[in-house]
Amino acid sequence: MKTKIIIMLILGLVSVSTIQAQKQRDDFKIQVDGLGCPFCAYGLEKKFKEFKGIKNVAIDIETGDFTFTFPSDKKLTLLQVKTQVEEAGYTPVTIKITRANGEIEVSEKEKE
């Protein structure tokens, strides 16, 4: 019985910390123009990997949707994201950031 309680407590702690860790990441969704070939999309991914801590990178080549998560304590801004897309050689059309605390930030075009 005692062992069961300890195991359940450990499992509970692990799940709480996992949820906590997930919550501590901001979600980014960017609509990128100019991804003309799949090989070239690697340039975009590589450029964003300069941001240490980036995870869950996904690029839908056909729609230009580029998503990733980033530690919320590093407060990656809309401007930093826009600049990084441009330095990769592409055009950021819209940028949407869903912060870990639920706040949503969008670029000007996204608001339109």
Partner: protein
């Protein structure tokens, strides 16, 4: 003369209606990778001509300091075996290339870019009079490169002038490349592309003109490509003992 101009106009018109996709094998590519990235590449050519057989192996390293500028150094080696009897191996002409993209228009899944390009060929090779491989002469090339790429098709073309101080190998160069992706676009990338590439050279002083066609295939992974191509002449208006029979290319590139 009319024939040369006719051929050039024909492929330029073809340019307007052609469809293609991807980073070309023989042609230069428009800039599509971000700043602060490197690409290492080799594309070995086996060239069979009436004058002899040649194997040309360049080792290239490109660096993009910004998203619209790239610098490349090519260090090539050549193995030659002339019909006349002489043969050997040596360093070929080292080439320094710079490209600057001055126009870019992007849309979803497509991009159009125009660049200026210069190549400075250093006289590091033996004087073998192998144009584009080993001449032992300083050469300066100045051209314009344009490309449209989309997930369904794209075009790459290049027009430029190669200048040599004594004028003996001055020539006009026009290239046009088409490609065709065989698989659905996906990320991380896994793609097989077919390439159809035309290259033409008009060497004024010798009054030589060549129009070459290359058929290639490329496997592109996430950050590398492996490519094969075979090139044959369509127009081979050069001295009979200098005619190209065919060239074979094999190589790959890795981006980091």
């Amino acid at each position: 003369m009319k024939k040369y101009v006719g051929s050039l106009i024909a492929i330029m018109l073809f340019n307007l209606i052609g469809l293609a996709q991807g980073p070309p094998i023989i042609l230069d590519k428009i800039i599509l990778l971000g700043s602060n990235s490197f690409t290492a590449r080799t594309l070995t050519e086996y060239r069979n001509t009436e004058r002899g057989d040649f194997v040309y192996t360049p080792f290239s390293l490109s660096y993009l300091p910004t998203s619209n500028t790239t610098f490349t150094v090519d260090v090539p080696f050549i193995n030659y075996d002339f019909e006349s009897g002489s043969s050997g191996s040596s360093l070929a002409d080292i080439r320094l290339t710079g490209k600057y993209q001055f126009y870019q228009k992007n849309a979803t899944g497509k991009t159009f870019r125009i660049l200026i390009k210069t190549e400075q060929t250093l006289p590091t090779g033996e004087s073998l009079d192998l144009i584009g491989l080993s001449t032992g002469l300083y050469q300066g090339y100045y051209g314009i490169l344009g490309g449209y790429e989309s997930l369904k098709f794209g075009i790459t073309s290049e027009l430029g002038y190669n200048w040599i101080p004594d004028g003996t190998l001055d020539h006009l160069r026009y290239k046009l490349g088409f490609g065709l992706p065989l698989l659905k676009p996906q990320f991380p990338n896994k793609q097989i592309n077919l390439y159809f590439e035309y290259s033409s050279f008009w060497i004024f002083e010798r009054d030589w003109y060549q129009l070459l066609y290359a058929q290639g295939i490329q496997y592109a992974g996430k950050d590398y490509t492996i490519e094969l191509s075979a090139q044959i002449p369509i127009v081979n208006d050069v001295d009979a003992d200098r005619e190209l029979n065919y060239s074979l290319f094999i190589g790959g590139r890795y981006t980091f």
